[in-house]
């Protein structure tokens, strides 16, 4: 994070203890923080202060976190990171599908949160600066212009669908992509229920792009939610 620009982060969460440690840790990382205890106030702050990212707790006292995301997406593309208690996979997926960018399960470590935050902020800056044409992570490199995929400098042949999937994941590298988002992207909006096809393709893709397919390093599974491609180097 650059020294001259301090990103503004809005934390919408009803638990004061979490506000406290987030403000300490994020400010130490060079962020400015706005705290909001309710959903309504959070939306107001999002509209008036235009933060660079929003950290949102799904269990708000006055409104559903999913509704918060839907309302926010009506007028803002500010990245949103969901934090929610475990065992609410369906809620997380719903929030992600509604437009949230990533999620974290409580309890979470600050390191994780910072990594996620960095990923969404990078996307924001990348969008403004234009996408980098080459994605590399570890031994995998993908040239998005020439559609050239290499693993350990060896060229790999991907089927069109595999490539489309990989390209979509690269666009969202470092962030979670839900099954629905991937399905819609690759096979269109009508085939959103056939998640097992997706799994088969992901499995196939892993066979090609992972050095050890049974222990993937790049294309990771987010259980019950979707997939995440490791953020590029």
């Amino acid at each position: 994070m650059s020294a001259e620009y301090k990103p503004l982060v809005l934390v919408v969460e009803d638990e004061p203890a979490i506000h406290k440690f987030l403000s300490v840790s994020l400010e130490a990382q060079g962020c400015r923080l706005i705290s909001s205890m309710t959903g309504k106030d959070g939306l107001l702050q999002a509209a008036t202060r235009t933060p660079d990212a929003i950290i949102l707790d799904l269990g708000l006292p006055d409104m559903d976190g999913i509704d918060f995301v839907r309302q926010l997406r009506g007028w803002s593309q500010t990245p949103v990171i969901i934090i929610s208690a475990r065992g609410r996979e369906l809620d997380k997926v719903a929030a992600l599908d509604a437009g949230a960018d990533d999620y974290l399960t409580k309890p979470f470590s600050v390191g994780e949160l910072q990594a996620r935050l960095r990923a969404v902020l990078r996307r924001r800056t990348a969008q403004s600066a234009g996408d980098s044409p080459i994605y590399t992570v570890g031994e995998l490199s993908v040239d998005l212009v020439s559609r050239n995929v290499k693993l350990a400098d060896k060229e790999i042949h991907l089927t069109p669908n595999e490539y489309r999937m990989l390209a979509y994941l690269i666009q969202h590298a470092g962030r979670v992509v839900t099954h629905q988002q991937l399905l819609k992207e690759i096979w269109g909006p009508d085939s959103t229920q056939e998640t097992h096809y997706l799994r088969v393709y992901v499995n196939q893709l892993r066979q090609k792009i992972e050095p050890t397919p049974t222990q993937p390093k790049y294309l990771l599974t987010e259980p019950g939610v979707g997939y995440r491609l490791a953020a590029g180097d």
Partner: protein
């Protein structure tokens, strides 16, 4: 009393217990005080009301439940100021009766209630046939009762009263009520004074007085009654004295265990024998049994005689005796063998009324009994009435069976023809021919009974005389000498037919008894083999309705002890509220009631309590068009035997249920305790580490060096992580146990699940190498992905925790058409040898796990999840050391390997 039994001179524990129980019951029960006198007019009601008044003045809550309408003015004055319960007006056959209102009294629930005339018979339509039953119910409700009674109403002196005064008293009271009263106060005045009172019209209204006094109030009668009353009171005092002596363990004669048996038959004087037995039993404090022997001849008794036997047996039960019906051809043998089996010391039998000639001829049963009785005393009691009663000569009208007579004719014709042939053609002597005729007669007698046999014998003699005795083909003069032949023939015919008859009757009786025994046995067997309550009810209903040819309902209580129908035969009538009320009463009081009983006799059905060892389990009701069906004590006993079987079966199931619940409770208790100790331990340990580290940092953070500070912070995060895992396990377990978790089945490549699991371990910083062997074309699994991941995570967690850091861990999978097998194996210390699968038990922790964290839920969760997927999980020790967990899941794809086309076109469809 025999000497050998006299050594029981101290109360034995059982009897003491029984007395304690009786006293306990008494303490919650109301107390009964009887104002007892020799006849009306002695002042019982006056004394009762006077005392009640005193109690009321002392502040007791007194209610006058019922005072006779013919009350005298002085007596009526005593009622002033006392609360009087209004009469219940009962209409019966157009007439109105004023009766005691039991329900109102129970609802009012006074401390003391006064009710006149204990022996009164209630009007039809009331709950009980007798007022004393009302009183018993009041006592049970904890209400104290004052009541009045005249001596002539006591059941056991009923016959004496009748004999001395000539007045038949119809309203009788079982002696047991009198004997068990808490208090009896004798009201006595000299007979002269009483006669004077009657003359002055103080007792009954004037017009009754003359007629009554002529009949009843003469000095002789009154003196006799007075003596009876005094004696009965003295007996009671004596009994109380006896109790006192026993309580204080004064060395005294102790009641023996032997019994008194009274033999009853169809004679009307049998009732007298029963009363005598009862009096003797009371005097000796012995149990007594009334016995009737059913001989084949009994079947020949007229209906009224049979009815009398039944009545006598019912009387015996009423008076507190046991009753039993024996059967056999030799009454004396039956009586004696039963008597010996039951430890009977005294047998009471009526003096026979047969003529001396008859006695000489066929012997007397009494003589026989006395001769064979051995050590048993036999008391022969004079039969006061019914001396003229003869053994019934009446036999059921033989049904004329023409076939029998036709056969008699035919057989005679055949023997005659054979005789003609043998004698005239073959020259065989006619004495031999006679044997053939005799044979024919015997045949007819054996096959067709008495009438045809007589006909055959007469015809045979005539035929014999006519055909083979000279002069042939005429009834010659010489026929006269065949009178003897005729007599012998007739005698043979009669003997054979009688024997046959008796045999067949015996056979019939034996069959009947056997049928009953078999029926009971079948019920018992079927019930014993049935573990469910509803089936037991059905079986009981079916058996009772079949054996007794009646409609049956069984009612069982709910939580609030309200009865509800649990089973019924198909044609059982619907129970209206009234019938239900009767059944409920039976349940509440644990006494039979309804049709054919004295309690609530107007009811449609007869209701019996299902009594079992621990109280009443329910009520069985029977409906039969013939109400007399169950007035036969024997039939009733058989029914009771059935009911007992059913009751025991119902209780057995209830006990089994209870045991199951108790086990579940204990199990739940165990789990709760383990959980509590586990939760308190496993949450407190990390919590104290966190608190300790945090407070250290807080209070002396500046003084500790950086490395120590980092270490403390590391402890906090590690322990927090541990707590999280613990809580997650608990939550998972709760979700799985509650059964609310439905797996969201989707098709997953196993590789993806495994990859996700390994990713998690990698994120947690696990450095161990986990070898994965899964074919790339492995079929898809139809599972709930996150749940199966949880299984693998828990298994790997354990493997990582319990094995040395260098030992290998592997995940392997195989598939065939039917199932998918996943093995997670390590080379650690292995599992408990005797039963590796114990590790799946909730809160199981191995002896080696003392140093490790965990609450023993991980593997239980694994098993629950796998079972949710209709699979199995097993644990075993590997050859060469180490543990292996084998998960078997059904292969829903039905393929051993995955075939996948690279062309995605089929997906787009």
């Amino acid at each position: 009393m025999s000497d050998d039994l006299r050594e029981h001179d101290r109360p034995n524990p059982d009897e003491l217990l029984a007395r304690v129980a009786a006293e306990e019951q008494k303490s919650t029960r109301g107390r009964l005080k009887i104002f007892f006198g020799m006849s009306a007019g002695v002042g019982k009601t006056y004394a009762m009301l006077e005392e009640a008044r005193k109690r009321a003045e002392e502040g007791m809550n007194v209610l006058i439940g019922y005072a006779e309408p013919h009350i005298r003015p002085e007596t009526e004055a005593l009622l002033l100021g006392l609360e009087i319960l209004p009469y219940k007006i009962v209409e019966y056959k157009g007439a109105k009766f004023k009766e005691f209102d039991l329900d109102a009294a129970l609802a009012r629930k006074p401390t003391l209630i006064c009710i006149d005339e204990l022996a009164h018979s209630n009007a039809a339509g009331l709950r009980h046939a007798k007022r004393y039953q009302d009183v018993l119910e009041l006592l049970d409700a904890g209400i104290n009762v004052y009541t009045t009674l005249n001596v002539q109403h006591l059941e056991s002196v009923n016959d004496i009263v009748e004999r001395t005064s000539g007045v038949k008293v119809h309203e009788t009271l079982p002696d047991i009520i009198f004997e068990q009263a808490d208090d009896v106060q004798l009201i006595d005045i000299p007979p002269e004074k009483l006669i004077e009172r009657v003359r002055e019209g103080k007792i009954y209204q004037q017009h009754d007085a003359d007629q009554l006094s002529r009949q009843f109030f003469n000095k002789g009668n009154l003196s006799a009654l007075r003596e009876l009353a005094l004696r009965r009171t003295a007996d009671r005092v004596d009994a109380q004295m006896e109790d006192f002596r026993r309580d204080n363990a004064v060395k005294s004669p102790w009641p023996t265990a032997d019994r008194i048996m009274v033999c009853v038959g169809p004679s009307p004087s049998s009732a007298q024998l029963v009363r005598a037995a009862r009096r003797m039993a009371t005097a000796l404090k012995a149990q007594w049994i009334a016995v009737n022997v059913e001989t084949p001849k009994a079947a020949e008794l007229p209906a009224d005689a049979r009815e009398r036997i039944i009545q006598t047996l019912r009387l015996a039960e009423h008076l507190g005796g046991q009753t039993i019906t024996l059967s056999g051809t030799q009454p004396v043998e039956e009586i004696l063998s039963y008597a010996r089996a039951k430890n009977v010391a005294r047998i009471i039998i009526g003096k026979p009324s047969h003529s001396r000639f008859r006695e000489r001829l066929i012997g007397s049963m009494v003589d026989d009994l006395i001769r064979k009785s051995g050590g048993i005393d036999v008391y022969v009691i004079r039969e006061e009435k019914g001396v003229d009663f003869k053994q019934p000569r009446h036999r059921p009208m033989p049904t004329v069976r023409f076939t029998g007579y036709a056969w008699a004719l035919g057989v005679t014709a055949a023997t005659a023809s054979l005789g003609i042939f043998l004698h005239h053609r073959l020259g065989i002597a006619n004495s031999n021919v006679l044997m053939i005729d005799l044979m024919g007669v015997m045949l007819v007698g054996w096959r067709y009974g008495r009438g045809p046999a007589i006909l055959a014998s007469v015809l045979s003699v005539l035929g014999f005389n006519y055909t083979v005795v000279e002069p042939y083909y005429s009834f010659g003069l010489s026929g006269g000498q065949y009178v003897i032949t005729l007599i012998v023939m007739l005698a043979t015919a009669l003997m054979i037919s009688t024997l046959t008859n008796r045999l067949s009757r015996q056979g019939e009786m034996a069959r009947r008894r056997q049928r009953r025994t078999v029926a009971l046995l079948e019920l018992a067997r079927e019930l014993a083999a049935t573990p469910e309550k509803s089936r037991i009810i059905d079986i009981a209903v079916r058996h009772v309705s079949q054996v007794f040819d009646c409609q049956v309902v069984i009612l069982l209580p709910d939580q609030d002890r309200r009865l509800a129908s649990a089973g019924r035969s198909s044609e059982a009538p619907d129970m209206d509220e009234k019938e239900h009320g009767v059944a409920q009463w039976v349940f509440d009081r644990s006494e039979p009631a309804g049709a054919t009983t004295d309690t609530l006799p107007f009811a449609q059905g007869l209701y019996l309590p299902l009594r079992a060892s621990r109280g009443i389990a329910g009520v069985l009701g029977v409906y039969t068009p013939k109400t007399a069906d169950f007035s036969d004590p024997e039939r009733l006993h058989l029914l009771e035997a059935f009911v007992n079987q059913a009751a025991l079966a119902v209780e057995r199931v209830a006990l089994a249920d209870e045991a199951q619940r108790a086990w579940e409770r204990a199990e739940a208790e165990f789990i709760r305790n383990t959980l509590l100790s586990s939760v308190s331990h496993d949450l407190r340990t990390p919590l104290s580490a966190i608190t300790g580290s945090a407070t250290t940092l807080l209070e002396s953070g500046e003084s500790v060096d950086v490395a120590t500070r980092r270490e403390l912070l590391r402890t906090i995060t590690d322990e927090a992580e541990h707590m999280e895992r613990f809580i997650n396990n608990l939550l998972d377990m709760t979700r799985l146990e509650s059964g609310g978790l439905q797996p969201r089945l989707e098709l997953y490549p196993l590789q993806e699940i495994v990859a996700s699991v390994l990713e998690r371990f990698r994120q947690k910083g696990t450095r161990r190498n986990i070898e994965v062997k899964i074919r790339t074309d492995f079929p898809l699994l139809s599972v709930d992905g996150p749940l199966v991941e949880q299984v693998l995570i828990n298994l790997l967690d354990n493997a990582l925790e319990y094995t040395p850091a260098t030992s290998p861990i592997s995940i392997e999978a195989q598939a065939d058409e039917k199932q998918i097998i996943i093995r997670v194996a390590d080379r650690g210390p292995g599992l408990p040898k005797e039963d590796p699968n114990r590790v799946f038990q909730k809160f199981y922790r191995s002896s080696t796990s003392a140093n490790h964290r965990g609450i023993g839920l991980g593997l239980t969760i694994c098993r629950s999840i796998v079972e949710l997927h209709k699979g199995t999980i097993q644990a075993c020790n590997r050859a060469g050391g180490g543990a292996e967990f084998i998960i078997t899941l059904p292969n829903s794809s039905g393929r051993a390997a995955l075939q996948i086309s690279d062309n995605p076109s089929h997906i787009q469809s």
